[in-house]
Structures are given as structure tokens and as C-alpha cells.
């Protein structure tokens, strides 16, 4: 017997169709995964089930909950929603009240369903159930980690003992290990409470690990429904095949490129942030973001820096390219040294470049793309204007874009194109070492493989060295020759990818490997 039955659901914004004729059922106790890229209409579908569509959206088609159509009356709908549907959103910080302790927020949700005298007991049992400790209830949201906040959100969603739990990208703002834990928690809770689950994600692997049935959305159309095993083994639609391949992520491996010639060295790099001002009291101990880190990159070698969020890997990357200075230690690139005292010289700056995580944030929206991409050419004084233009054209072609795009503004490009442009900007000075800070994590799954392939091709063609920063071991494995694992500002393990995967030494490495989906 289906708990949720959707028939010919269509959601329009004016003339634009966001969700186009979707029909599917979610069985009682079933777990349905909706997968699709940003803008494919998956969140809207979930909002339609709980009648929370944004203003301006018009809905047609029918939705049955427990074999009854959703009530038109707003009050009746609110009652149905409160008693039967729990929701968990992507960003727990914005869904929690920053001025209220966790206990009160959970208690508020319980109070809507249970008499007052039961609230206290229920709070504690819910906190336990989602894997938090009683003391966490006394804290404010900002005192919890991202994973803990998401657990609080789940506790609130469970307060009314809902029949249906809707999770909208609940793990995409979490790091890999935490994601795994949250997925396990959801799995357990659904079993224990016999809850039905609607799980929305752009991550096929996360969906497949949790759900029985998977629906693939593209441009508002439901193009494929199958059980999760079937989708992986035998995808029918071309788009699903792309997604599955991206999830299995096959990028042709490179033959051993790296030479023995050392290119870059980091020696006992330490970065300390003071956490208090001049007069604040009591003084916090200074935060050691990067602690005595030393490593070496050879010419044409690709090295990855892997670790959970907050381990200091981005801080290290900024120091490597010269955006900030270490408190102790120094770097050597080719023959030159820079570090605590010496400013990065211009002639050295051209040998280093950085590709940022978020392609939407790395271009000035008021500048044409051509202007932004050619900006680093300022570092090459000797180049004549003609040569600069031909260098720009050559670089743009090398990342697979055409030169007539140079007159456009950033908002006219897709995420994947922008990341190509960001790579072009990083390569235009012909640097020796390119630092890539999570280069694909902000991109949709289906274009990640493309970008990684581009990176591999460029490296073999130009003999580049990469320092790749990421939290995703699988992605890293396809690109690099050496993996360094970082925890609390220290490098705890460094080895070849094969060794890391076959024979991890450090506990964190083991955890990271275990968290892979």
C-alpha cells in the first residue's frame, strides 16, 4: 500500500515549467531516493508533498497521502504535516534558532504533539536516539559541529513521530566521515520506527547506499525509476549512465609522469592564529592551524592533501601560493625561497597559481571573462600586447572553450565552464605548480569527471605539478601520485594512492576509507 502517491504532478512558475508530469509512489516503509542536479526540480517535488511550495508556484496533478488527497484547507494541511511528515534540510544552521538552546528547540516541537509533562523525558530520549549526549541539549546551535546540528534537526523532525521523513540534501554540507555517520543514523531510525523515507540528493552513491528505489530527475522530468541495485548495474537512460559513470568515476589513469627533480619544498611550516584581541580576557590559547608541516613535490608530480574540514589544508594552500605568510618555516620553489619574512617575488608568483573551490565566486561579476582570465598576465612584463592576446586564446582553447566566449560576463557561464575558465586563468602564466582547492566539489556530479580528465590531460601535456586539496579520497586517487593525510594541522600519513588504499596506517586514514560510499 503506497503511503505517498503522486500522479501527474506539474509545478509551474508562470510560463516556466519546473516539474513536468511526475508520477511515482512511495510504499509504506519504503525508501525512495530522488536524484538530480541543481535545478532539476527535486526539492520542489518534496515541497509539493508537504504543500510548502514557494509563492508564485502553481501546482497541478494529484498527491495522495495515506490514500487520501492532500487537504486544500491550510489548517488541515498543517495538521497533516505536523503529525505525519518530518523534514530535514541541507543547512542545519539556518534551520535552527541561534538564540535558543537545543533542548528548548526540540521541546518546542515535542510540545505540539505531546502533553507538557512528557516533554522533558521525550527530549532526552530523542537526544539519545540521534546519537547526541544529554549535555549537548544545554548548548546553543553555534556550539555544535555541522554533524551534530544535523542530528538535532533529525531529532526535531522525529518529535512528532512522523510516518514520512523527507531529507533534502541532508549530508551535502558535511564532510565525508560525518556524512557516513548521518546516513547510518537515518538507516537505523527508519528501521526502528518503521518510517518511510524520501531522500533527496545529487549524490548517487549516498542515495544508493540508503534507498531501495531511486528516481532520476532531469529538467523536471522523471526519466528513470528503478531499484537502487538495478540503477547501478543496468542504467537505461543516457543521463543515468553518465551519473553512474561519474559516481564510479572512471578517469583514464596517467602513466607515471613525475620525475625525480624536486620542484617545491615546504619546511616545518607553522601557522598560528591568535584568538583574542588586545584587551579580551580570559585569553584563549592560540589556534595552531598548521603545525610543523614539511613535504616535497617533484616536477610533474601531483600530490593530494586530504583531511576533514578544519584540518588546516586550505590554510596551507593559501600559504603555498603566497596569499598569507607562515609564522615559522619556509618554502622553496625551484631555487628561490619564500616564507615568514621574504615576500613572494613577482617572478616567482607566475610559477604558482591557485584554482578556487567555488567557480561562482572566483570571477568579478563586473568584468568580462577575457579580462579576468588574462589578469595574471600582468606578471609577465616582457610579453607584448599581441603576444598576450595570443597567449589568452591559446590557453582558452587548451581548456576546451572557444575564444568567442571571452566577451561574455561570468553569469552567462555554467559551473563547469566557469571552473574551466578558472583553470585557464591559473595556467595562463605557464606556472610550474598549480594548487587546486577542492576543484570539483562545488560542481554537479556529471561534470566532475570531465574536469578531472581535463586536469590529467593538461598535466601530461604541460608537465605541471599539482597540489590538490580535497576531502574525497576516490576523486583524489584518479589524479595524483601521492596522498598526504592531514589532521589537526599535521600530516599524519603520506604514501602512494595504492598503498593508502591497500594498507592505511593512521586511524584517520582508516576512517576516511571506511566512510567512502
Amino acid at each position: 500500500m503506497p503511503l505517498v502517491e503522486i500522479k501527474n504532478l506539474k509545478i509551474n512558475f508562470g510560463k516556466k515549467t519546473a516539474v513536468n508530469n511526475i508520477s511515482f509512489n512511495i510504499e509504506q516503509g519504503g525508501r525512495f531516493g530522488l536524484i538530480g542536479e541543481s535545478g532539476s526540480g527535486k526539492s520542489l517535488t518534496a515541497l509539493a508533498i508537504s504543500s510548502l511550495l514557494p509563492n508564485g508556484a502553481t501546482k497541478s496533478g494529484e498527491i495522495f497521502f495515506n490514500e487520501k488527497p492532500l487537504p486544500k484547507n491550510k489548517k488541515a494541511m498543517a495538521r497533516l504535516r505536523g503529525n505525519n511528515i518530518g523534514m530535514v534540510f541541507q543547512e542545519p544552521m539556518s534551520a535552527l534558532n541561534p538564540l535558543m538552546k537545543i533542548n528548548r528547540q526540540i521541546g518546542e516541537a515535542i510540545g505540539l504533539h505531546f502533553p507538557k509533562k512528557h516533554i522533558k523525558g521525550r527530549i532526552n530520549s530523542l537526544i539519545n536516539e540521534v546519537g547526541l549526549e544529554i549535555k549537548h541539549g544545554q548548548r546553543f546551535p553555534h556550539q555544535l559541529s555541522g554533524g551534530q546540528r544535523q542530528r538535532v534537526m533529525i531529532a526535531i523532525a522525529l518529535a512528532g513521530e512522523p510516518k514520512l521523513l523527507i531529507c533534502d540534501e541532508p549530508t551535502s554540507s558535511l564532510d565525508l566521515i560525518t556524512q557516513r555517520k548521518i546516513l547510518n543514523l537515518l538507516d537505523e531510525l527508519c528501521k526502528h520506527h518503521d518510517m518511510t523515507l524520501l531522500f533527496i540528493s545529487h549524490d548517487l552513491k549516498a542515495v544508493a547506499s540508503l534507498c531501495h528505489t531511486v528516481g532520476v530527475l532531469k529538467n523536471g522530468k522523471l526519466i528513470e525509476i528503478a531499484n537502487s541495485h538495478e540503477i547501478f548495474e543496468n542504467p537505461k537512460q543516457d543521463y543515468t549512465k553518465i551519473l553512474v559513470n561519474a559516481a564510479k568515476a572512471k578517469v583514464p589513469p596517467l602513466s607515471e609522469l613525475s620525475t625525480q627533480a624536486p620542484l617545491f619544498k615546504a619546511k616545518v611550516i607553522t601557522k598560528i592564529y591568535k584568538q583574542s584581541g588586545l584587551f579580551s580576557f580570559p585569553k584563549h590559547p592560540p589556534l595552531i592551524a598548521v603545525n610543523d608541516v614539511s613535504f616535497e613535490i617533484k616536477t610533474a608530480q601531483a600530490v593530494a592533501l586530504v583531511g576533514p574540514s578544519g584540518c588546516g589544508k586550505s590554510t596551507l594552500a593559501r600559504m603555498v601560493v603566497g596569499l598569507s605568510k607562515p609564522n615559522r618555516g619556509y618554502f622553496t620553489l625551484k631555487e628561490d625561497t619564500y616564507g615568514t619574512q621574504k615576500h613572494l617575488h613577482r617572478s616567482l608568483q607566475r610559477e604558482l597559481s591557485l584554482v578556487f573551490q567555488d567557480p561562482f565566486d572566483s570571477f568579478n561579476p563586473r568584468h568580462k571573462i577575457g579580462v579576468s582570465v588574462s589578469e595574471p598576465l600582468r606578471l609577465l612584463h616582457s610579453l607584448t600586447p599581441d603576444k598576450k592576446i595570443s597567449r589568452l586564446h591559446e590557453t582558452i582553447k587548451s581548456v576546451g572553450l572557444s575564444i568567442d566566449m571571452l566577451d561574455r560576463y561570468p553569469h552567462e557561464f555554467s559551473g563547469g565552464q566557469r571552473q574551466r575558465l578558472a583553470i585557464a586563468r591559473a595556467l595562463i602564466t605557464k606556472p610550474a605548480l598549480v594548487v587546486l582547492d577542492e576543484p570539483v566539489s562545488a560542481l554537479d556530479l556529471s561534470i566532475r569527471a570531465e574536469i578531472l580528465e581535463l586536469l590529467n590531460n593538461l598535466r601530461s601535456k604541460l608537465g605541471l605539478s599539482y597540489l590538490l586539496i580535497s576531502h574525497d579520497l576516490d576523486m583524489v586517487r584518479m589524479v595524483v601520485d601521492k596522498i598526504m593525510v592531514m589532521q589537526n594541522g599535521r600530516i599524519v600519513e603520506a604514501n602512494t594512492p595504492d598503498e593508502i588504499f591497500e594498507n592505511p596506517q593512521h586511524q584517520l586514514t582508516k576512517n576516511l576509507l571506511a566512510a567512502r560510499l
Binding site: 512558475f13 508562470g14 516556466k16 519546473a18 514557494p54 508564485g56 508556484a57 593559501r318 601560493v321 603566497g322 596569499l323 613577482r346 608568483q349 604558482l352 597559481s353 591557485l354 578556487f356 573551490q357 567555488d358 565566486d361 572566483s362 570571477f363 568579478n364 561579476p365 563586473r366 568584468h367 579576468s372 589578469e375 595574471p376 600582468r378 606578471l379 586563468r425
Partner: protein, 286 residues
């Protein structure tokens, strides 16, 4: 957003439309007075003084027999010129200070902030009194006083806007491209805060007109035989009970100009506000 499209969008905003048309009418009247006024206001005509509203003198005449409409037109011109130049002073000094403070940080930022606080401690009237006691009352000194008052306002707006932009990755990218902090301030930060500055300028313009009227009213601004709206108020004060129109007309003019400019500023802010812009893309999708 192209300029033409922006204007179309702004124009569909009611308060922008009212403010824009109203301000434009007064600005045009003021500009016309440079070349032509119904009567020459330097010519005294005592025989025709205190005339009521009539077809010959549309708004009547004052205690020297000067045509009130002509007086209002050239008075508005003075007010607009004073406010415009004062905004110009604030923009040309305050904006670079604010941008450089945000871009360099450190001791320069500290100095700019403390300098701002220092200037904020003296309202325009107080600094005008200081300036005029030293240099004597005149329209030019009023301009300088109001202009100095505008500097910290623009510095603060520019720094605030720049700080919200400086954390973007493209600023880091520009630094990696060898751009200096100075260069970043004007190539990357300035183009991204122009809309903020335009809104603030329209607000400061109306404040400038008010401040000029205030200064002239207490005798520290424009001096006769030149005229300004504030000066007209001052001269009409002693005759208010007998001939109220002499004070009411310039008073209404001041109020109208200030309200129109504020509506214009409100409309601009609504159109340029990034939050509302996001709303617009939602609306566009619908």
C-alpha cells in the same frame, strides 16, 4: 544589468518614478534660472511689493517687489549647486579613503576609522560655524562645511561595501595576479559598490539641501544679494504674520525637493538591492 534595462526596472518602481519626475522638475526650474527668470531678481521694485498671487506675478512679490517665482528658481539653483558640490567633495575624498582602508587594512584602516569618528562628532552646523567664524560667512564656506560632513559618510559606506566584497575568491585571484592593494581597490572593489554609492549620493543630496537651508537660515551660508531657499526663509521670518506666503513658499519648496530626492533614493535602493535582485530572478522565472 545594462543601464537601459536598469532604468526601465527602476522606472516601474512607484516611489522612484515620483521622486525622479519631481526632482527633475525642480532641477530643470533651477537650471533654467541661469538663463532666464520671469523677472530680474536684482531689480528692486518697491512700488510693487507684497503683491498677492496674480496672473502677472504667478506667486506674488516679496518685500522688495521681487517676483517670488524667480526668487524660488534661483534660490533652488543655489541650494542644488551647494548640495551637488558638497556631495562631490564627499565622494571624491571619502570613497577613495574607504576603499583603501578596506583594501590595505592595518594602520591605514585604523586612521581612516578614527578620522571618521572625529568628523562624525561635529555635525555640519558646528563645523560650518567654525569655518565661517574663521573665514567669514559665504556660500563657498557652506559648501566646504557640508562637503567635509559628507566625507566620513561616504568613507563608511565605501568601506562597508568593500569589506563584503573583499572576501570573495576573485579578490584573492587578483592578488595572485600581482595586483596591488591600491589597484584592487579601484579595479575590483569600486565597480562593485557603485550602486551603493549612487543610493547614498541621492540621500546625501537631500541632506545637503537641508543643511544649506539651515546654514543660510542662521546667516552662515549664502549672503544677499544672492539668494537661496534658506535665506528666503530667514528674510521672511519677521514678516511671517503679515505675509505668510513669503515663508510658506520657500518652505514648501525645500520640503518638496527633500521628499522627492528621498523617494528617488528609496526607489534606487530597492532596485539595486542585491536581496531584491535575487527576488527578481525568482519573479523572472515565474
Amino acid at each position: 544589468m545594462s543601464n537601459q534595462r536598469f532604468f526601465k526596472k527602476a522606472y516601474s518602481h512607484l516611489s522612484f518614478r515620483i521622486g525622479f519626475i519631481g526632482s527633475l522638475i525642480f532641477a530643470l526650474l533651477a537650471l533654467i534660472s541661469i538663463f532666464w527668470t520671469p523677472y530680474d531678481i536684482t531689480q528692486l521694485d518697491i512700488a510693487n511689493r507684497f503683491l498677492p498671487l496674480s496672473s502677472q506675478y504667478l506667486l506674488g512679490t516679496d518685500f522688495f517687489g521681487r517676483d517670488m517665482l524667480s526668487m524660488l528658481m534661483s534660490g533652488a539653483l543655489t541650494s542644488f549647486i551647494v548640495a551637488f558640490i558638497a556631495v562631490g567633495i564627499g565622494l571624491s575624498i571619502g570613497v577613495p579613503l574607504g576603499l583603501l582602508a578596506a583594501s590595505y587594512g592595518g594602520i591605514l584602516e585604523w586612521l581612516v576609522l578614527k578620522g571618521n569618528d572625529f568628523l562624525f562628532a561635529f555635525p555640519a552646523i558646528i563645523s560650518a560655524i567654525i569655518i565661517t567664524t574663521v573665514f567669514g560667512p559665504s556660500a563657498i564656506n557652506a559648501i566646504i562645511a557640508i562637503g567635509i560632513f559628507n566625507i566620513p559618510v561616504f568613507a563608511r559606506v565605501a568601506r562597508g561595501g568593500a569589506l563584503s566584497i573583499i572576501s570573495h575568491d576573485y579578490i584573492s585571484a587578483a592578488r595572485l595576479s600581482g595586483r596591488s592593494s591600491f589597484n584592487i581597490a579601484f579595479k575590483h572593489l569600486l565597480p562593485n559598490i557603485t550602486s551603493l554609492l549612487i543610493v547614498q549620493a541621492s540621500v546625501q543630496l537631500s541632506l545637503g539641501i537641508l543643511a544649506e537651508a539651515g546654514l543660510s537660515y542662521i546667516g552662515l551660508g549664502t549672503q544677499p544679494p544672492a539668494t537661496s531657499l534658506g535665506l528666503m526663509l530667514k528674510e521672511a521670518q519677521s514678516l511671517f504674520l503679515l505675509y505668510p506666503m513669503l515663508a510658506i513658499l520657500p518652505g514648501i519648496t525645500i520640503i518638496a525637493i527633500v521628499i522627492f530626492l528621498n523617494l528617488l533614493g528609496d526607489g534606487l535602493r530597492d532596485t539595486l538591492d542585491p536581496k531584491l535582485a535575487r527576488q527578481e530572478t525568482l519573479d523572472a522565472a515565474s
